[in-house]
């Protein structure tokens, strides 16, 4: 593996020890790592050398991590994984609503972080092909054609209602990202319906019945308790 195709990860965290540990581990895992200990520094590094992924702490000395997220999202679609000691649902939802792709609370196991990094990078690579306008998403036996509004499972067409398809298409187009209930409801239904989580529960159950091998143990439509859902690509 040469340096050119090593994924570049930018870690923004103000704790020198965690920066040191992450740099060591990620370098050992053959990632190219740069680090920043302040929000402004992180933003300018991300602009100067666009990374493939950003790991972001929410407690920064100069600005809040949420603000870093918001500013990054104004010009970049780079996957952002938030790492924070803040473990309330409210904090997670806020970060995700402001453009973070994933959220991991400290302390965390390195394997879990690596898994999340892999998911985020895969999603990012998939969306980058065809100018970020990928029209067919494949995972396992599932194939979703966003243009043709066609979903096949092991080669057989799956009949979906208009709302079911809209929901699936939205989740699949953001594969790998954690989407909050509010984001899904306002995009698939209507911004006035952001509190009708029950709609979402019903339709997710319908989709799982039609798409998953075992609707009780979903592979594609994964629940993020209290936060939202995530479409996983195998």
């Amino acid at each position: 593996m040469n340096a050119a195709i090593q994924p570049h990860i930018l870690v923004i965290d103000d704790e020198p020890q965690i920066l040191r540990a992450l740099r060591t581990v990620l370098t050992a895992k053959r990632f190219r790592v740069s680090t920043a200990s302040r929000g402004e520094e992180g933003l300018s590094l991300a602009a100067a050398q666009p990374p493939d992924l950003i790991i972001l702490d929410l407690s920064l000395p100069d600005m809040d991590g949420i603000e870093v997220c918001r500013q990054l999202r104004t010009w970049s679609q780079v996957p952002i994984i938030v790492l924070s000691v803040r473990d309330r649902e409210h904090d997670k939802v806020e970060a995700l609503d402001h453009g973070a792709d994933d959220y991991l609370t400290k302390p965390f196991g390195i394997e879990e972080l690596l898994a999340r990094i892999r998911v985020a990078l895969r999603h990012s690579i998939q969306t980058q092909t065809a100018d970020g306008k990928k029209t067919v998403i494949r995972t396992g036996s599932l194939e979703i054609d966003l243009m043709q509004h066609l979903v096949t499972r092991a080669g057989e067409e799956v009949k979906l209602t208009a709302t079911e398809f809209k929901l699936l298409a939205y989740l699949a187009a953001n594969a790998g990202r954690v989407l909050t209930h509010q984001m899904i409801l306002s995009n698939v239904w209507d911004p006035v319906d952001v509190d009708r989580v029950e709609y979402l529960r019903v339709y997710i159950r319908l989709l799982r019945r039609k798409l998953e091998d075992d609707p009780e143990k979903p592979h594609f439509l994964v629940n993020e308790p209290g936060i939202g859902y995530r479409f996983l690509i195998e």
Partner: protein, 504 residues
């Protein structure tokens, strides 16, 4: 004790003085008229009698006015109507004249008297209104039960010209004055020696006027008044009743203010506890995150990590456990300071050794900065608790590192301040702290910046303060032209030391 508001009056006698004056007036007028009657017609005589009636009524009111009218009628009949010197009347003409005179005299007496009464009432009301507004504005500035009682006593003394006032408060209703042994708080004020509370003047058995202090919570006490020379009239009773209810309102307001303050203090301490919990969890999870990430990396695929990387991770784990240990130490010290069991275990120490020990222990932590130590060689030994002083230096150094830019200098210096004490300085080149916060940074949980932004639970400096104070020293911070400095003093002698020397 009756619950409803009541007042009673010891006696309600009529004041005889105005009647006497009116009698004298009529007598003088009669004598004068007897002397001049041959020159004046009977009609004019009758008219002249109306003069004392009108004067009496307008000066002394209705009662004396009517009294004057009857006297004048009798005198006129007796001295000037045929037959003279008797109350009999022979001529019908005279009888009509007398009846008309009596009617006119009554009308004048009543008219003037009523006007007089109304004027007096209006004046009394005005006076009451002024007194009440003065009293209520006086009460508005008072915030303690004692002050209100004093104001009430003063006002009653001034207003009613009484000999003696007592304000009795049920002890359970006076949270700020404390319960007396008898369970009642009694205050007495005598007109003869005002300000001498509870003076030894003989106390009459029964007060002349009583007014209970009645609040929505029930009776909280009463006002007792002694006035020997004159009884209380209805308007005075009403006024006292109003004073009492105003004082009650003030007591209630005081009570509510106290309750509110207490609630605010509780709320504040609750908020502090919550903030401590959230910052403790934040502060513990940060090093734990490094430790867990490193351990899981080492644990899962050790073979894929080269020895250098493993070494890095192990070093990170070691440093973060030290960091956690410092945190736990601070929390323990804080709870010791809180419960008052932080007793320095003093022994004779060399200050520079303590500093060297701390710097050795913190060397991985201080790599980002340059540490300079300037402690003079001839500094005497100090009698301090080694571990506690180490904690003070560790906290001051860690604070300096946290708040000053990388690659700047941190200077630790110490020298004799006087014969009695030495002065230690820990100075960094970081930004200063706004003057208003210079003292508060040593308060528990106080942080100048938002809690989420900078790590730390706001305990370090308050622990330093606790330890230094336990050693009999003083700690403070100063903004310097080129940075920020912490100072503390340590006494070279302390009480235990002197006692021991004396024993030897």
């Amino acid at each position: 004790m009756k619950q409803d508001f009541y007042l009673y009056n010891a006696s309600n006698r009529i004041n005889p003085w105005p009647y006497l004056q009116v009698l004298v007036g009529i007598f003088i007028m009669t004598a004068f008229l007897v002397l001049v009657k041959q020159w004046i017609s009977p009609t004019s005589l009758a008219l002249l009698y109306l003069l004392p009636i009108g004067l009496g009524a307008s000066y002394y009111g209705l009662g004396p006015g009517l009294f004057a009218a009857i006297l004048a009628f009798l005198a006129f009949n007796f001295f000037f109507v045929e037959p003279l010197y008797s109350l009999f009347v022979h001529r019908t003409q005279d009888l009509i004249g007398l009846v008309v005179f009596l009617g006119t005299a009554f009308a004048i007496g009543q008219g003037f008297g009523m006007a007089r009464q109304n004027l007096e009432k209006a004046q009394a009301r005005e006076r009451e209104a002024i007194l009440l507004s003065e009293f209520s504005s006086e009460l508005a500035d008072l915030h303690d039960g004692k002050g209100i009682v004093q104001a009430l006593e003063r006002k009653v003394l001034e207003t009613f010209q009484v000999q003696r006032v007592e304000v009795i408060l049920e002890a359970k209703h006076t949270p700020d004055t404390g319960a007396s042994e008898t369970g009642r708080e009694g205050r007495t004020k005598d007109a003869a020696n005002p300000g001498n509370v509870g003076a030894h003047s003989p106390r009459p058995a029964r007060p002349d006027l009583l007014a209970p202090l009645q609040t929505p919570r029930g009776m909280i006490g009463e006002i007792r008044i002694w006035r020997f020379n004159s009884p209380f009239n209805a308007s005075e009773q009403r006024l006292l009743q109003t004073f009492a209810s105003q004082a009650c309102l003030a007591f209630e307001r005081t009570r509510l203010t106290l309750a509110e303050n207490r609630a605010r203090v509780l709320e504040e301490s609750d908020r502090l506890k919550t903030s401590l919990l959230s910052s403790v969890s934040h502060e513990f999870r940060t090093p734990l995150a490094t430790i867990k990430a490193s351990v899981t990396a080492l644990h899962s695929e050790t073979d894929s990590l080269d020895p250098e990387a493993s070494g890095e991770l192990l070093a990170a784990i070691e440093e973060e456990t030290d960091h956690l240990n410092l945190l736990v130490g601070n929390l323990l010290d804080m709870s010791r300071i809180e419960s008052g069991v932080l007793q320095p275990k003093r022994s004779w120490n060399v200050l520079s050794e303590i500093v060297a020990g701390v710097l050795h222990r913190m060397q991985s932590f201080t790599k980002s900065h340059t540490i300079q130590v300037d402690i003079s060689e001839d500094l005497p030994l100090v009698s301090v608790d080694y571990l506690q002083l180490e904690q003070v230096f560790a906290n001051l150094i860690s604070n300096s590192i946290k708040f000053s830019p990388v690659d700047t200098v941190i200077l630790i210096s110490a020298g004799r301040q006087s014969d009695q004490s030495i002065l230690v300085q820990v100075k960094n080149q970081g930004p200063g702290v706004s003057e208003e916060y210079l003292e508060r940074i040593f308060d528990k949980f106080f942080r100048v910046t938002a809690a989420e932004r900078v790590s730390g639970i706001g305990l370090g400096l308050s622990i330093c303060k606790g330890i230094i104070q336990a050693h009999g020293g003083r700690i403070w911070a100063e903004n310097q032209p080129d940075g920020f400095a912490y100072f503390f003093t340590l006494p070279l002698t302390w009480e235990g030391d002197i006692q021991r020397e004396e024993l030897e």
